[in-house]
């Protein structure tokens, strides 16, 4: 079994360990990922602020490329790990399916470049695929190194379940908790898990974002609350969220006179750890701080570099 794969720009930059761990996990579960040939930017949240039709056309070209790569009449599932890309592709898929004026314009533009979208390509998120296609039983079976009760805060951020709740509840999603619990983690109760980290503001966090102080404050609130609830690590599904929550803890501690030092990784990194995959294959070496308690050690035992 193999899926079409749309990486998105962040997977080649700040979110490289997302791509690495995703490929490692899918490989370990016997599922292939075929990267789209010559994919382009999805339009993210920046392009629709300038031109809605072109933003849709950007995503539409990717969907058309996915169909080209898998000729036939059946549906083509396109895995998009970045929650921002996932939402942009979904939004375009819906706009094109409704057959309105926008669909006609975008269809015409694709045609001008010899491309066609037939409505077969469907954006899917890897969390959805892992929980609903591959299944928790198979994932649990493959967990040779269970997470030993690691208290994880599962962070969904905005765009995985909003506005389109394709596979989970838009207010109280549970997929990630169920997935990580199946491999030995103990997800914490965390009502803030779909609250914005401040970084969907055009690709990027305080480093690139428009309002560094706002992003810093929003991300800090999430980390502080997760810490208060006993989280030992945070699992994310989006490279922008991951980046915001991981990279600026130092600035937050200085700004808000706090001591936060939480490992913030991709859910695929935690899952891959439980599957016994090599930490380098999971991109652990790319993290700014990544310390998980050793599940082999006694409860509350020593921290090791994981």
């Amino acid at each position: 079994m193999s899926y079409a794969y749309y990486p998105g720009c962040s997977a080649k930059g700040t979110g490289r360990s997302y791509e690495e761990s995703l490929r490692a996990v899918f490989g370990a579960l016997g599922t292939g990922l075929d990267e789209l040939e010559d994919w382009n930017c999805c339009g993210a949240s920046g392009y629709p602020a300038v031109d809605a039709a072109k933003a849709a056309a950007l995503s539409a070209r990717n969907l058309a490329l996915a169909e080209d790569a898998q000729p036939g009449t059946g549906p083509v599932d396109v895995i998009a790990p970045c929650a921002g890309c996932y939402r942009a592709l979904l939004k375009t898929e819906r706009a094109l399916a409704d057959g309105g004026a926008m669909a006609a314009r975008v269809g015409g533009a694709l045609g001008a470049a010899g491309l066609r979208y037939q409505g077969r390509a469907r954006p899917r998120h890897p969390l959805d695929v892992l929980v609903n296609d591959i299944g928790l039983d198979r994932v649990a079976e493959a967990a040779v190194r269970p997470l030993g009760g690691l208290r994880v805060a599962c962070y969904y951020g905005c765009l995985l379940v909003r506005p389109y709740a394709m596979f989970d509840d838009r207010r109280a999603p549970t997929s990630m908790e169920r997935l990580l619990a199946a491999v030995g983690a103990e997800p914490i109760e965390w009502p803030l898990r779909t609250r914005c980290c401040g970084g969907s503001c055009y690709c990027g966090g305080p480093l690139i974002g428009a309002l560094p102080e706002a992003t810093l404050r929003l991300s800090h609130r999430l980390l502080k609350d997760a810490k208060r609830r006993g989280a030992q690590a945070i699992a994310t599904v989006c490279p922008l969220c991951q980046f915001n929550l991981e990279a600026f803890q130092h600035q937050m501690n200085r700004t808000f006179d706090e001591h936060i030092d939480l490992s913030v990784g991709f859910f695929t990194q935690l899952l891959g750890t439980a599957l016994g995959l090599d930490e380098r294959a999971l991109g652990a070496n790319r993290m700014l701080h990544w310390r998980l308690p050793d599940p082999a050690a006694a409860q509350g035992g020593a921290h090791v570099r994981a």
Binding site: C9, K12, G13, T14, G15, R16, S17, D38, W39, N40, C41, G43, A44, S45, G46, Y47, A49, V50, D51, A52, A53, K54, A57, L58, R61, M102, R105, V106, A109, L110, A112, A113, G114, L115, C158, L159, R162, P163, R170, R171, R195, C196, G198, G199, C201, Y202, C203, G204, L207, I208, A210, L211, A214, L218, F248, H250, N285, R286, M287, L288
Partner: protein, 187 residues
């Protein structure tokens, strides 16, 4: 008064811009309650709705609020009238770009335009160059503050300095250019 598009008829509440749901905002304030960015806005989402209903479109376009929106869709999901608020704010951003009416000395419109230019040229976004060019243009002194983080990312291979590009920029160009020809209301 700026030139209105049918997308944004004056005298309509934000949600009505979509014309899918011909309802009006009931001013319940749910959008403002759930908005995570409200403390950084000059007008709350509820007030923006009131301003739109009252025909104060130019004032709305000049407010920072629409550019502070990160499009997290919390308001859209919670609105009891199911008004497509986030999409309406996108429409306002586009109106703002088209008419050149936007808040002065505010960075987000610059960022959006820079982002679009990068994508138009290369087909992909480059986090390193986008942030660098933005900081150079708008607040070079801040570069110093975030340089240590950038260096750590570069060392870990997370901030490639060589910008990514699509292999067939001409094909992408054709798609985007085809949408330039019809300079309709959405262009």
């Amino acid at each position: 008064m700026s030139k209105s598009s049918p997308e944004l008829a004056p005298g309509r509440a934000l949600g009505a811009a979509d014309r899918v749901l011909p309802q009006f905002c009931i001013q319940c304030g749910t959008c403002s309650v759930v908005c995570p960015l409200i403390e950084y806005m000059d007008h709350s989402p509820r007030v923006l709705n009131a301003m739109m209903t009252a025909g104060g479109e130019d004032d709305v376009l000049r407010s920072r609020a629409i550019w502070v929106c990160t499009s997290c869709y919390a308001c859209t999901v919670e609105c009891p009238k199911q008004l497509p608020l986030t999409e309406s704010i996108y429409a306002l951003k586009r109106q703002s770009m088209r008419t050149g009416v936007y808040p002065r000395r505010f960075i987000t419109p610059v960022l959006a335009r820079q982002f679009v230019r990068t994508v138009d040229k290369r087909g992909r976004s480059s986090e390193a160059w986008l942030s660098l060019s933005l900081y150079l243009r708008t607040r070079p002194l801040q570069l110093v503050r975030y340089a240590p983080v950038a260096l750590r990312l570069i060392r870990r291979g997370r901030l490639p300095l060589r910008p990514e590009s699509v292999r067939k920029p001409a094909q992408l160009r054709k798609v985007l250019d085809a949408l330039d020809v019809t300079t309709g209301e959405h262009a």
